[in-house]
Subunit: 132 residues, 4 copies
């Protein structure tokens, strides 16, 4: 497996910033490696501060669960199978904006985006992933 | 941007205490700066102790999200977009009583009030903001 | 036992602010009740932000140990009896600036001061206690 | 006061990366705003993972104490005045590598560098500050 490099992370962040600028929503964008550890991060001017943690946590959740965070939304509702999941593993985020990235079929990292609506976060995260 | 001073904070707290006295509900009132750091705090005689943390956290949440905490109540319900948000960023409060204050269009601080009903908390927080 | 009131706390804080102004060192000043719970707090303009926590923790330590924090400095040195104490009870502060206040022989609260040298912190805390 | 922008942070990080490359020591480099909140971060390929937290915490400590972290090393030794300080305020770092940056005489942010020797960390942090 070839690891996600800082160059990879910066290319993803640049693509994310470009898309965030296009939709006119300043964002926090975090990229983590396959261990969920931060590689690169930017907070665009005007993006809310709570999303420093949320974006990083979305990226980390994507690694720990090995799936996009959007896939956790239904499963963690009251009465659903993973009700309460968000309190485990140091705190997971269960709404969209975190997406793993793969290389040769293996998860090598993840991006997390936060500060807009969930739909906007997913849009920007997807643009970052596409650049990988 | 001019910073929120202790004089600003004390004027807000005095106005909050006056309104809390008028509605006969002792309150915890916290004022934080634009980084969410505490500037001044009072617990009126008879106000519950849990609200020391809740009032401070409401003020901090208002800064981190850059919005009144009342605006988070609907969005964090089961099935809603930000379900689980309250567990991020060190713990956010998602019911009313925290309100940011602005100067020249920029958020420079926030007030958080807790110990009464949410409606009472919002009433007292609004009185504090009006004095700013 | 008559409890420490907000009026008591504010009188202590006013005296502390006056002394801090006299020695020209902006301070964080916290007053807690006999349970170690915050009653009132001010951060003077220009006082460092780390001392928000340190002043509050000094006051709380004074209650939990029922002694001035300055009395813990020797006992917690490497090789001394209470080596490692500061890691217990949610985190204690073992240098000067926290002092309990008593009424009719009973501890009813404590003040914690932080942002200057330890000597300055103790000077301001003592002025606050004297006003009680 | 004019805020530290993402452009400011990226210029500092670029200068830090350049210096880290020159001394051949991959680093973690974090830039925070005047509230201690992260603005930008990079982990260079090969830099140790513990330093993600250490670099960020150095930058945050510089804000909370309003001084370089190197200035805390002596004062927090056994027997010295601030023995035990590192356990307060959510955890402070008391060795070199964190430096505040000022504009018009006011602290507007800080940089934190970690992964090399403390001397190397300070060298790279200084290069980042010089670019501000």
């Amino acid at each position: 497996m070839s690891r996600l490099t800082l160059t990879d992370a910066q290319r993803m962040i640049d693509a994310g910033v470009k898309e965030a600028t296009r939709i006119d929503q300043p964002m926090n964008i975090a990229v983590v490696d396959d261990g969920g550890h931060l590689v690169a991060f930017v907070r665009m001017d005007g993006a809310i501060k709570a999303s420093i943690d949320i974006s990083t946590r979305k990226a980390r959740t994507s690694i720990l669960m090995d799936m996009p965070t959007a896939d956790l939304a239904q499963a963690t509702q009251p009465g659903a199978e993973l009700w309460g999941l968000e309190q485990t593993a140091g705190g997971l985020v269960t709404f969209g904006g975190g997406i793993p990235v793969t290389r040769d079929g293996e998860t090598v990292g993840a991006v997390g985006v936060s500060a807009g609506s969930v739909e906007q976060d997913v849009t920007v995260a997807s643009a970052a992933v596409a650049a990988f």
